[in-house]
């Protein structure tokens, strides 16, 4: 597959803390094609942000470390790339936007300065050209009065505008991959709709691949083509957005979708997954979701389930699907 842009292969990112080694990302594999929008979904603490930071090599070290696995970007393993190599890639070929536009902009520099920094670093242009390019970028992301905003400071802009500036900054060098870590979580719904619209347009016009990290399944339905669902540091399910939302296989994904209040339906009682997300820790045996799973049987507590292929680019990590036929009976038996 030559059109694969980014491929993660059995990535392990561990944190070495006073409480021991914590496998925040525990063997994650997936890929992103050129021009594709892939979502990583999961609740807090599932390792979705650590995965994205690992790709950019932005994990604070110590305590964090990529202990195993490959990150292939355009066929090259960047998991062990040097700082110098990474600097060439970051901001140039892979760019990232963060959740909090308030804290990820420097309050002491003007908008033009901050966008221009990446351009000056990666391209052979002078300051004047960089400034002109910054203005064009601001126009691209739909900021009114771009000529004035370029000289303003972050505190003069609203949350939605700041997120637009972040996106402009990320798009400065026409990256092939944009990693967006909860880009709309801090924004209001009407502003969120604007930003999602903008990201969709950038994806279409510039063919930028987007890796979107989110906890909001609604956002996934809006913009993603494929989805990776994570739970406790592992991928539990993968498929197209439609497959995941309409026909979820893993009990966790099923529970997650059922526990959402639906705006267009009337229901009396919400489904809820019992218990809470487990604390990550090393040496746990069995399916991480088993203690909260209504289908769990003995084997789930004794063995780690493998990620099973159940179709074209369709995976799930659950014993229920091991032998597609007959597994229902097996689990009924073990329950009784």
């Amino acid at each position: 597959m030559s059109d694969v842009l980014l491929e993660l292969n059995n990535l392990h990112t561990h944190f070495f803390t006073d409480d021991g080694e914590i496998p925040a990302v525990d063997g994650v594999s997936f890929h992103v094609r050129k021009g594709e929008v892939v979502g990583i979904v999961g609740e807090s603490g599932c390792g979705k942000s650590v995965t994205s930071l690992s790709i950019m090599q932005l994990i604070p070290s110590p305590p964090g470390k990529i202990v195993d696995g490959e990150i292939n970007f355009k066929g090259e393993n960047i998991a062990k790339a040097s700082k110098k190599q990474m600097r060439k890639i970051r901001g140039n070929e892979i760019a990232m936007i963060f959740q909090e536009p308030m804290t990820s902009l420097n309050p002491l520099y003007s908008i033009g300065n901050q966008i221009g920094e990446a351009i000056l670093l990666h391209e052979k242009v002078n300051k004047k050209e960089a400034r002109q390019k910054s203005i064009n970028l601001l126009k691209l992301v739909g900021i009114p009065r771009a000529e004035a905003v370029v000289d303003e400071y972050p505190h003069q802009l609203s949350g939605g505008m700041r997120q637009r500036v972040m996106i402009a900054m990320a798009m400065a060098c026409d990256p092939e991959l944009l990693i967006a870590d909860e880009p709309t979580t801090a924004l209001d719904v009407t502003i969120q709709a604007q930003i999602l619209d903008l990201m969709r347009n950038l994806n279409k016009e510039k063919e930028t691949a987007i890796l979107l990290i989110t906890h909001d399944l609604g956002v996934v339905a809006e913009i993603c083509e494929r989805v990776v669902v994570m739970y406790a540091g592992k991928v539990v399910e993968e498929g197209t957005a439609k497959e995941i939302l309409k026909d979820p296989k893993h009990p966790y994904t099923q529970g997650l979708i059922r526990s959402l209040p639906k705006i267009h339906e009337k229901e009396q009682k919400l489904y809820s997954i019992p218990g809470t997300v487990p604390k990550p820790g090393k040496g746990k045996i069995g399916c991480r979701f088993a203690p909260r799973c209504e289908y769990a049987f003995d084997r789930c507590f004794q063995e780690d389930p493998k990620l099973l292929s159940i179709g074209n680019e369709r995976y799930t990590r659950c014993f229920l699907y091991e032998e597609n036929v007959g597994s229902e009976n097996d689990h009924a038996k073990s329950n009784s």
């Binding site: 209001d188 719904v189 009407t190 969120q192 619209d197 906890h215 609604g218 209040p261 267009h264």
Partner: protein, 322 residues
């Protein structure tokens, strides 16, 4: 017909903007600007709106945790805006609040027993034995175990902390609970647990909630009636099914269409609003929404529309319907 438990009439809260060398007043932020509504006994009234629309200020002004600038708040037919501190303190037995951030609203140095026991002590449960018994009861009601009483907040997860917050609010058998974004800091799977718990408690203890949130699906799920706020004003209020199926105000229409739906086949005829919410220190003239409204007319710039009943309990403030 149930009785109104809470009546809010023309509630206003202006915050002064200070500036200049002597810190003189240079302006006002109209956080809540003439809001009126009624809450019936046993009802859940949802209030939605984007950040800065004044929904939390409204909630806090009802309890007089923030002193309202003008207007009347009637609780069980009694105007509470003129009560003194002591009378207000007694009344807070019946009116409680649950906060958004379960990390910030519990004292980290107090055990759960002390946190839940404090409102009991304040409101006259003097015997230690009795308090202990009640704390045990409350913990069970909210789905925690009695042995949790001796622990500290940091030993709990977000969802459990919110349960503690709920137990504290329930301690004195209140009649009305203001819920200020009680689930927005929680993960989806935990959020549904807390929503179900709150619904059960309402049925069990015949509580009345004013449920403030920015998540339209959550508000729809839990509320009986829903009010929509924009820039300190109530723009629309109706029964929830009526409001979500047949929104009248252009802002409500845009807001509802902007919610991402977790269904890839859903039709998307989205109204994308231009621009941002204007600053409440300098709100637009006339209808506050006219700067972003796709259907704005000349009159909208000049005259503030009245908040009036259109049909069966469906209130809207918009010139299109006059």
């Amino acid at each position: 017909m149930p009785n109104p438990i809470l009546e809010v009439n023309g509630l206003k809260k202006y915050f002064d903007l200070k500036g200049g060398v002597f810190g003189r007043k240079v302006g006002e932020v109209k956080a809540v600007d003439d809001v009126s509504f009624t809450v019936m006994e046993g009802e859940i009234l949802g209030i939605v709106g984007e950040s800065g629309c004044g929904k939390s200020t409204t909630g806090k002004s009802i309890l007089r945790l923030i002193e309202p600038t003008a207007g009347e708040v009637k609780f069980e037919d009694k105007d509470i805006t003129n009560l003194n501190t002591e009378e207000m303190r007694k009344l807070r037995r019946d009116m409680q609040i649950i906060f958004q951030d379960p990390y910030a609203s519990l004292n980290p140095r107090h055990t759960v027993e002390k946190i839940i026991g404090e409102p009991l002590l304040v409101h006259g449960v003097k015997s230690k034995e009795e308090r202990k018994k009640r704390i045990k009861e409350l913990l069970e009601v909210v789905g925690l175990s009695p042995y949790h009483a001796s622990r500290y907040p940091h030993q709990f997860s977000g969802g459990q902390r919110q349960r503690i917050g709920i137990a504290r609010a329930l301690a004195n058998n209140p009649k009305l609970i203001i819920c200020d974004e009680p689930v927005s800091a929680l993960d989806v799977s935990v959020q549904s647990q807390i929503l179900n718990l709150m619904q059960d408690l309402r049925d069990r203890f015949n509580l009345t909630y004013v449920f403030i949130a920015h998540d339209l699906s959550v508000v729809k799920h839990i509320s009986d009636r829903v009010g929509v706020m924009y820039l300190g004003r109530m723009v629309e209020m109706a029964n929830k099914d009526e409001l979500y199926d047949n929104p009248k105000h252009p802002y409500t229409q845009a807001l509802l269409s902007a919610v991402p739906v977790p269904d890839p086949d859903a039709e998307k005829d989205r109204i994308i609003l231009e621009g941002d919410v204007p600053s409440p220190s300098n709100p637009p003239s006339g209808c506050a929404f006219h700067t972003r409204c796709p259907r704005a007319m000349d009159i909208c710039k000049e005259v503030r529309p009245k908040f009036e009943e259109q049909e069966n309990n469906h209130f809207v403030a918009c010139h299109l319907y006059e």
